[in-house]
Every structure is written in C-alpha cells, then in structure tokens.
Symmetry: C2
Subunit: 147 residues, 2 copies
DNA sequence: TTGATTTTGAAAATCATTTTCAATTATATA
DNA sequence: TATATAATTGAAAATGATTTTCAAAATCAA
C-alpha cells in the first residue's frame, strides 16, 4: 500500500507515529500517480469529483507532510500559488512557464548547474538549492498569436 | 525634482495625469537613492522614522506605480514577501540568498543567460523574463557556523 | 475662486494558507 | 473484545501580505 512508503519515511524521521487514514491514503494515492505539478485546488477538485468528502485542511496538511519528509517538492511560480510535484519521479529540474496558457515545461541543463556552482564559489557561498524559471510564450501560444 | 522622472515616464504611458504629492515624493526619493532591494516594510519604517505620516496603502500604491512604468523591479524570494529594487541602477541580474541571515547578493553570469536562451530555443519557447535564485549559506554565516 | 480630478489613510476586503478545537477514528494493550 | 491513548478530521476562525473602498483632503486648470 502506498501509505507504507509515507509511514516508513515519516517515522524514520523520528516524529510521532502515523495512524492510517482513508483521507490521507486518497491524497497520497493521487500524489504517487501524478508525475507532474499540480495545484492544491486541482487535487482537491479531483477528489471531490469522485464524490468523496475531503477538506482543504486535510489536503494542505498531507501535502505539507509529504513535503517535510522530502517526497514532495514545492514550487511557487509567479502567480504566488503553491504547486507540488512528486520528488520520486524525477530529479531536480527547472521550469519554463508559459504566461499565456500556464503550461509548465521541465528541463535539466547540467551546464547551467555547473555555472551556478561556479558563481557560488566565487562568492564563497554554499548553495543548498535553487530555483530558476523562464517565463514567456510556449510554441502553441505563439502559433495562436500569429493568427 | 525626482518626481518629474516619474511623471514623464508615467504620463507617456497614456494614463491619467499625475498630481504632485508630498507623500509620493517621499517614497520616490527613498526609492531613487536606494540601489539595492528593500521590502515594503523597510521603506515604510524608514519614512516613519523621520516622524513623517504615511500609510501602507500609499506605499504599496506608489511602489506598484513605479513597477508598472518599469522604474522598479519586483522580486519575490522564498519568504513570499515582495521586495523592490530600482531598475535604473543596474541591469538584469540574479540572486544569491542566504537562508540564515537573509543577505541578498546580486550576480550576472552571461554564460548562464546564453544557455537559458538555448534551452528556450530547444523548446520553441520565447522567454520574456526569468528569475533565478540560489539559496544557501553566505561566507559570514558559514564562518559563524563553524565556531 | 471654483470645479474637476487625484491622492490619501483608515478600515474593510481578499485570498491562499494555517491553526484551533471538538468530534471521530485508529491502534495498542488490558 | 473493551478501553484508554493518541492521531486525524473538518468547520470555522485566524493569519498576514496586499488590495480595495470610500469619504475627506490636496492639487491643478481655467
């Protein structure tokens, strides 16, 4: 069961024990089967759509839980809303964000990472993490633009 | 007078005319003489310290005005608070943010910019702007860490 | 000076997120 | 299996940064 991953991961971090719960299972299940970003609202709506009762409190709580044990990554783009993505599916990456349609494209560019490290070294800075987002127009929206 | 820059810049953008105002002059003056980031609270406190009356509404309004005509740049780092920086002092740059003391270091790295453009091209994406922040520990905080 | 328009600040509204708290549920153990 | 203990839940309230409202004050053009 998917919650087991969570339990182990969580309890190994020396917090209070986790009791199993239907609601949390629901959220974790959605989360584990997602391989891209989603907003809290998106997840909430999805569960509601299955005509299942859930509250935002629980959604936020569970997502923060996943985040705190490193299973989820949080991204906050320009719109200021928190999105989550599964950390188990992909390595660190950066984002291209379309300002027209909101599409989010992930990319990795090791050469940039290397240069970032260089910059940090130059400033005697130790980098824990970074975020990099390129905002603009995606191919599809550019096409529409031209019509 | 510094407000003139604002007036010209603003009115040339075809909006309603600007009347001169002491409060706005105060804020614009602070802004123009700043060459680094500041939070809204920082500016507000600074003006209050001079025992001058001002309200947050006015501060926000004026800063947003400066932003809308391109004189100010807005940055939102991990803490979620909006900071402003004068756009007239420096070119585009990215940031190193110390997670311990909050220090913000600016840097430019043309090689990274070039690689970003390459990434965008690869995805047929047109980039309008980007943000890149490296979070970690600055040299001073690392030193303290070791004691 | 008047009349029209902009600016201001206090208070209320927003909006995503977090917290509170009482009721419900899971679990360990008697 | 019953009971005690602790975790989970959701509704509603709280939060906190920012924006909006609205009536009063200030500015400007004629």
């Amino acid at each position: 069961m998917e919650q087991d991953i969570l339990k182990k991961s969580y309890q190994s971090k020396l917090k209070k024990p986790l009791k199993s719960s239907v609601k949390r299972a629901l959220i974790v299940n959605y989360f584990m089967n997602r391989n891209r970003h989603f907003s809290v609202e998106e997840l909430y709506d999805e569960i509601k759509k299955m005509s299942l009762k859930i509250s935002y409190s629980t959604v936020y709580r569970t997502l923060n839980l996943l985040s705190s044990i490193g299973l989820a990554r949080e991204c906050v783009f320009k719109d200021g809303m928190t999105r989550f993505e599964p950390a188990h599916r992909s390595r660190h990456h950066d984002h291209l964000v379309c300002e027209r349609c909101g599409k989010i494209i992930e990319f990795e560019e090791p050469k940039i990472e290397k240069l970032q490290k260089e910059v940090a070294r130059r400033h005697k800075f130790t980098v824990d993490w970074h975020r990099m987002e390129l905002y603009g127009l995606c191919a599809e929206c550019k096409k529409k633009e031209k019509l």
